[in-house]
Symmetry: C2
Subunit: 301 residues, 2 copies
Amino acid sequence: MNLQQLRYLRETVRRDLNLTAAALALHTSQPGLSKAIRELEDELGITIFVRHGKRLTHLTDAGRDVLAIVERILLEIDNLKRSSMNWHDAQTGELRIAATHTQARYSLPPAIARLRTQYPEVTVRLHQGSPTQIVEMIRSGQVDLGIATEAIGQQADLDSEDLFCWYHCVIALPSHPLCQLAEVSLEALAEHDLITYDPQFAGRGHIDRAFNEHRLKPRIVLEATDSDVIKTYVRLGLGVGIVSELAFSEDDEAEGSTMATDRLVRLPIDRPFARNLTRVAFLHGRILRRYEQALIDAMKH
Amino acid sequence: MNLQQLRYLRETVRRDLNLTAAALALHTSQPGLSKAIRELEDELGITIFVRHGKRLTHLTDAGRDVLAIVERILLEIDNLKRSSMNWHDAQTGELRIAATHTQARYSLPPAIARLRTQYPEVTVRLHQGSPTQIVEMIRSGQVDLGIATEAIGQQADLDSEDLFCWYHCVIALPSHPLCQLAEVSLEALAEHDLITYDPQFAGRGHIDRAFNEHRLKPRIVLEATDSDVIKTYVRLGLGVGIVSELAFSEDDEAEGSTMATDRLVRLPIDRPFARNLTRVAFLHGRILRRYEQALIDAMKH
DNA sequence: CTTGCTTACGAGACTCGTAATAATT
DNA sequence: AATTATTACGAGTCTCGTAAGCAAG
């Protein structure tokens, strides 16, 4: 038995039991991969894959057990390298992060800037996706860390840490009727066209829940995954925006646009939607590089 | 990197950093082992061992980290084989048990007898030792399961399961003065010569504690690790015995000896010592063979 | 008839053991 | 002087890639 066989097995499963695709991904030959897997099966004395003639169709029960153990072994092999790098060369490396737009655009930049001064030799790669896509990217090893507000805390195969909390805020053009009110209520909000996040994203669940609890039916005329897109449509006068407070600052508005009538303003409303908790997640049991931990610490507040 | 290097590293540490001894244990050559370890260090980019000239003196900090991960990897490699065997040939194998004398002599026999009918192809090897020795035998991989009443539950690197509870009983020759009493008290016991277990063994702690709580100083004239040895000296008239109730049955006494005056009897005393819990332990995270789980289940009651 | 797994075979790499060397205790 | 690790080197093994074969959709 050797590690190569285990890597081959994992990749074959990841590529949906297509040996050709797995061989390609592993930069090796299909026959070699085929042989390696058969040898592993022989040595363990079990069949891992059910074969229909010459096609692999699915995993056996034994194969599922074996695969789970193999995943753990390869994770620990990776930990061996990571831990060694932490001792030998803690400064250099690669940091692949998956985050939602809001995190990538608003909460990550200062943390990454800080990281770049602490660890100038570390290459940072930023991927974007929905929370569920982020979870998949972590699982498949495409990224090291995932940052999101939804879906990321309750995965059994991921470890996670709390980063920070935030609330939604409500924004509109100064000319909007709601801007006349001294205090805006949820009821008032429900009477206007609203623009906010796609259901998967950025605490949208909390928004729907708040309206539901007040037995209100909000008129959401536009959904987007991206705070900037939402703000753009609010500027066009399509409605009132509900975005993460991370994504809105009246100072930035003042800088950005020249005309005061274009500047979005925050409506006076007292945190109508529940608190959101942004978390970072990574593979369960994975040892973190020092710079990974540094990034996480830099984002905590 | 390959698994051989990891096995070599573990064995070297187990043999106190003596490459010659490790090479011997691994049935390989010293130079090969030396080279393998240097190559592992090179590949990981760290030094694992501090060297004084040509001697390995101790582990580096990085080495300690690496070793912990290597132990986990090798455990999982072992799990791969064990899990496969559970699917492919659940009937055959080897079962190495470490137990104290009392367990080996009194509680294990029926369970092992049952196991032998369920799994006639399994070879059972029985080792004896003190609870701390048993823990060491599990740690070093000399045995698969350890069974004892002391020391075995609170090891962080071992998993364990409760098996059963038992109490101590007090035994004496029928001619002993205490046999005249309708009920024996702890105070009465403290006035006679006592024979019981060595401090490490079979719940001796509970015996001392009970006397202490009653501010009594028992006269323990003989200590042994072995219930049978204790019974033998009780038969010789050296004193009153305190043994596990597992190790004493008046029926067995009736069968064993012909003369009624030789038969030990249980004194009427109402469980003066705290309950003992016998547990089974094995390496943390180790997958159990089916027959191992069967033995454990057979011992639970 | 295309896609995809397996078998066959040979060049190159690698492993591992022996012998010699060097450094501690 | 004895013990123990490292270096050198070569025989045997193993890995892995190419080419050919063959089964399934």
